[in-house]
């Protein structure tokens, strides 16, 4: 391989390793934001979705996503990908697929059956995610053909996970005690420090997520990657600050969990446009996403009454969609604010809606079927005692 090829491959591998580490971040955020009696169950779900995703994406998911297109809709599947020239791509795409899958575990935490989750997670990585991914990233998908821009996956990865989360959290129903007499109650996370560490790890990994999505670093790609790192960082920082001030205004005090979610909201929102917007654009996207996520969490919790313990729907679904739309506004090349008119915005909206519909519909069909066949939810007794002791006969915390 020539030097440029090596450089590109090296960068993809490193970025992929960073993205892998995001799994630890998700695990920590999800356990930290929920109760200690279910921590073991969340650990298991997070490890397993990555393991299932790794095997499943290699076994078939990768080619469903990147195989030769069948009608710009789906790739031609082949079993057990083994092209030794493209192992770095398999790796990078595997960790992306696992990210989409793992988002859901947070939204349905503390009440969902373990087996049901395993099955859903597999379908997510080998079917739901790769098909809509094909539309945007394979090169000949129908959304690519329209000119849809989702550089690193605000929509392809995060919104897919987020919208599936919405459907899943809705179908599973709220945790016992979450809503009483139509009022939303707070069910505090058991360890916000662990949650905060999770956010730092996610942020750390996100440099690989967005930077690696350039899929190259040689030649002109180098400055592009550096620019992506900056836009990613600025959006996250701006969003955390913005979420903090909004929460400060609303609740009279700077709220810890909202600030943490704010950082993630900024990261999700910039993911689509990290290569298309200027640093200033990134900062503005961050400010907007940080504010939005606070209101969205309140809305989903109090108005929709969908119980999402970690805010996955708002962070990944809402801010993912929002960030994708904002590309149509802030893209230096073609964005509304840069004189590009409404065309790109329209295309972005088409993609957001199409993929959102896909994710929600398929998630609904799969989960509804699972509900009928094996059930989504643990028994009331198991839920109250905690999933760890019933589903795993173990306690995470001991002397």
């Amino acid at each position: 391989m020539d030097t440029n090829g090596v450089l590109d491959l090296l960068w993809i591998l490193i970025a992929g390793i960073l993205v892998f580490f995001m799994q630890a971040g998700f695990t920590l955020v999800e356990t930290g934001f929920t109760r200690g009696k279910n921590a073991g169950n969340i650990i298991m779900k997070n490890i397993m979705d990555f393991c299932i995703g790794s095997l499943g994406f290699w076994a078939i998911g990768y080619t469903i996503m990147y195989g030769d297109t069948i009608g710009s809709f789906v790739g031609s599947p082949s079993l057990f990908f083994s092209d030794s020239e493209n192992m770095h791509n398999l790796f990078f795409q595997t960790v992306f697929a696992a990210t989409a899958a793992t988002i859901v575990s947070g939204a349905i935490a503390e009440r969902t059956k373990f087996t049901t989750y395993l099955i859903f997670s597999m379908i997510m990585t080998v079917f739901i995610y790769p098909i809509s991914g094909h539309w945007v990233w394979q090169g000949e998908g129908w959304l690519t053909n329209l000119g849809f821009i989702d550089f690193a996956g605000s929509t392809v990865v995060h919104s897919v996970g987020g919208w599936a989360s919405l459907v899943a959290a809705y179908l599973v129903g709220p945790r016992i005690g979450k809503y009483t007499n139509g009022k939303s109650n707070a069910i505090q996370g058991h360890n916000l420090l662990i949650g905060a560490l999770g956010v730092f790890i996610l942020w750390f990994g996100w440099f690989g997520f967005n930077g690696g999505s350039q899929l190259a670093i040689s030649g002109d790609n180098a400055n592009a990657v550096a620019g992506i790192i900056i836009t990613t960082n600025l959006a996250a920082a701006a969003a955390a600050i913005s979420a903090m001030f909004v929460s400060w205004g609303l609740y009279k005090k700077p709220d810890i969990s909202m600030t943490l979610n704010g950082a993630l909201a900024g990261l999700v929102a910039i993911t689509a446009g990290c290569a298309a917007v200027s640093p200033m654009g990134a900062a503005i996207i961050g400010v907007l996403a940080g504010a939005l996520v606070v209101f969205s969490i309140e809305f989903i919790d109090k108005k929709l009454k969908v119980d999402d313990p970690v805010g996955a729907v708002s962070v990944h679904g809402v801010c993912g969609a929002f960030g994708t739309l904002l590309v149509g506004v802030f893209a230096v090349d073609g964005g509304l604010f840069y004189g590009g008119g409404f065309h790109l915005l329209g295309v972005q909206a088409t993609g957001v809606i199409a993929i959102g519909t896909w994710a929600m519909t398929t998630a609904f069909v799969v989960l509804f079927t699972l509900k009928k066949v094996i059930g989504l939810r643990v028994s009331k007794e198991e839920e109250i005692d905690g999933l760890d002791i019933h589903e795993h006969k173990a306690n995470v915390y001991n002397d």
Partner: protein
């Protein structure tokens, strides 16, 4: 004045608290203890399966003036109940004196 010490299932706590609230027993303290009793819980850890009678429980300490005793007991016996081994115990003992630190009130005045 009586002290009621109730050792109940953690999972029943919210219900019990709610019910106490309805009969206006709004003062008590609670903490988590490990209970040893008839109930057994199955555990597995690194290949060792075992059954333990050391189970997490919630300990409620409620001091009430005498007229409140019966209704508090009724509520506790009713709401902490599941019928399955391990529902817990309630112990009643005598309290000689009670003070409210803030007002220096004594006796049943301190319990209002």
């Amino acid at each position: 004045m009586k002290k009621i010490e109730a050792i109940i299932r953690k999972s029943k706590f919210d219900e019990v608290k709610e019910a106490l609230h309805l009969i206006e027993v709004n003062f008590f303290s609670y903490w988590d203890v490990t209970g040893v009793g008839n109930e057994k819980q199955g555990h597995v850890y690194r290949g060792v399966s075992y059954s333990t009678s050391d189970i997490q429980r919630r300990f409620l300490s409620i001091v009430v003036s005498d007229p409140f005793l019966d209704r508090t007991m009724d509520v506790l016996l009713k709401t902490a109940y599941t019928g399955v081994v391990g529902d817990g115990k309630i112990f009643v003992s005598d309290i000689e004196e009670t003070y409210r630190i803030r007002t220096k009130e004594k006796g049943s005045d301190a319990l209002k």
